[in-house]
Subunit: 402 residues, 2 copies
């Protein structure tokens, strides 16, 4: 059996944890499995590198940032290979050049295109545990690239796909995917299984366990993921195409407090005006989430949408700069809001789910600002101060704690 195991930065943050990971890999290896380990940079090392760079130049070229970033994972894999060897198991570390991991050219946000498997297979055949740098790749210019947020998860999934691995285990600091964030909802329960689609929605909606790029890739290549903790032996959550256990109507509830809302008031009511608004934002790489369009007075309309709070300043700036072209009357911006979502494959055939959610919130005296739905997801915008109460109420209403 071939297993790809991915450990994040906190799992390799110090000597003790490095050896903890090494021992878990050796357990698998001793069972006769081929083991490929994917690592992130240690602890907060990537942040340290960012600080180092910004001390030199406030806006360093992205190409050089990636040249700097990639040393983080190289450090992790070299130290891990040393730890494994010191425990008597042959191991070798490989970086993106050595593997080779081919990506698109975009520095800081590249996509994996192809992974060469020759070297990997050769080292595995030699009986070695192979320790691979996550997050990084090489583009057609032979330059380092990085994969952006959640990059190491994506590396692990892509490796599992390329090597036709039997399992891809993503080790994190939580022991699986929960029906809600246990810090917000103490009665939240760990899910045994979840579909790619549900996981995608939960990832997008603030359940920070897996990045949706890695889930998308797992779905595309049919790689079964296991999310589990690097700190204990508890069984994790399996993410796959079809779920075998009897399904709850709703799989999970997520609360995202990082959403901000912008309202563009008094736009001329003419075709294509919404496109123009969102095109401005897209050009700055600002992702727009829940959108509400309403007819205003005197032939104008208003458009509201949510964006990540990290983008709020830039979004307001670009809209102001285009005020003349978009011809709106004014902008409103609200930052004290939160997105509450329920996700579940079971929803598709149960139209009463939305009504139950709204009723629950109404009974809890929580106002709904905007609503957005997909086939397996319902998202409402509420006041941030209502967040904890809302998620608890919805979690209870759908019986997720049982």
């Amino acid at each position: 059996m071939l297993v790809v195991k991915k450990f994040g930065g906190t799992s390799v943050a110090n000597k003790e944890r490095i050896f903890n990971v090494a021992r878990r890999c050796i357990e698998d290896y001793k069972k006769g499995n081929d083991v490929v380990v994917v690592l992130s940079a240690m602890g907060k090392y990537t942040d340290e590198l960012i600080e180092m760079a910004q001390d030199i130049a406030p806006r360093p070229p992205k190409r050089e940032m990636d040249m700097l970033f990639t040393i983080g994972e190289q450090m992790s894999v070299a130290l891990m290979a040393m730890a494994l060897n010191s425990l008597g198991v042959p191991a070798i570390s490989l970086n993106a050049f050595q593997v080779t991991m081919h990506t698109t050219s975009a520095y800081g946000n590249a996509r994996l295109k192809r992974i060469d498997t020759d070297r990997l297979n050769r080292e595995l055949e030699d009986g070695k545990i192979v320790v691979v740098t996550g997050f990084q790749g090489i583009n057609k210019y032979d330059d380092y690239t990085t994969l952006g947020r959640g990059g190491s998860d994506t590396t692990a999934v892509a490796l599992a796909a390329a090597l036709r691995a039997d399992a891809c285990e993503i080790y994190t600091d939580v022991d699986g995917v929960y029906t809600a964030d246990p810090r917000l909802v103490p009665t939240a329960k760990k899910l045994k299984e979840i579909t790619y689609e549900e996981m995608l929605d939960l990832s997008t909606l603030g359940a920070g366990v897996l990045h949706n790029r890695s889930v998308e890739m797992a779905k595309k290549y049919g790689v079964t993921l296991v999310v589990r903790s690097s700190m204990n032996e508890v069984e994790g959550t399996v993410v796959k195409e079809d779920v075998e256990v009897e399904r709850m109507l709703v799989s999970g509830v997520a609360l995202d407090k990082k959403a901000d809302r912008i309202a563009v008031i008094g736009l001329k009511d003419e075709p294509g005006i919404a496109f123009k608004v969102f095109d401005c934002l897209a050009k700055k790489n600002i992702n727009v989430d829940v959108i509400l369009q309403s007819i205003g007075r005197e032939g104008t309309k208003d458009i509201s949408f949510t964006i990540d709070d990290g983008d709020i300043e830039e979004a307001m700036a670009v809209l102001k700069a285009n005020k003349a072209r978009l011809s709106f009357q004014r902008l409103e911006c609200e930052t004290k809001i939160a997105k509450l979502s329920i996700v579940g494959a079971g929803m598709m055939s149960n139209p009463g789910v939305a009504a139950k959610m709204f009723e629950t919130l109404y009974n809890a005296n929580i106002n709904i600002n905007m609503i957005s739905t997909s086939e397996i997801r319902i998202t409402v915008l509420i006041q941030e101060s209502d967040g904890e109460r809302a998620i608890q109420a919805v979690h209870d209403a759908f019986g997720l704690a049982e």
Copy 2:
């Protein structure tokens, strides 16, 4: 004109120094020169990496050590490229993979075999300053190697040779090669020029300005070196084949306190016995320097030699382990000794030089323990406590301060 400029770790130890180096490179660039910069790891970063590794494993595999070491220079070159770009000059950093620097396979002590120049030339043609990692290479397995001590100097010289550079400037924390270490001999003078041969002898003999591997390579490929300070604009010392200025009899005096002496007493006087002794040491990679062989009593002989003080324990151990095979009576070991050497191409045709040196030491009441000579060098072994007095006396006697 194409210039290769090499800066050591102290020259890039912090932000201020990185910008200092960047500005010096830009000066050259603004004159219309093509500029290639070779950098070591920042400050004591390589030592930090060693500590990090040894915390994980006391004897990590050399292959993994090199994987860890190489991040040091990658950090330097990325930050330097950022600094150069922030000053408005296009620059790009390249590591050993990107160049590519082909080496032999020996991890930790590889030799450069070949440097590809395609990428380098392309970036130079694009008008960029190219910042290259020193010290590191890639072997035939596509693994990182490092070049051992003085590795970055060697990288710079090899790059200058491969690119047919017009100059190879080695920036250090001293402003050139002196007639003696100015800390020991305050009247020491900086040399304007020195031959490869003289530099080689001085390097070997403790004048730590250039490592002899880089000088050997410069000599082999006829690369003219300039040794100068990264901290000031003072003209440095030119190292080349023939020296044009009128030559002094002696170019420099060097004192090496790091020598230890071992005497193997009462060896059987039979052919090949010296070979056996040195073969034992060679197998442990212990370099032997000044050798003295003398006939002992009753058909035995004694062999004395000096080695670097870092090797003394291992050397004693290996000789003891082979006592039966080598059949000697006992070992003596002296650590309080020093090597004093004078070097000068002018010596070759002046047989009186040795006599003058010995006379000077005799007049200063300094005892000579062993003597070794080459065409352009005379080395004597003296008591370590006599070192400073001896170097000053000899420096004066040959009029080097004038």
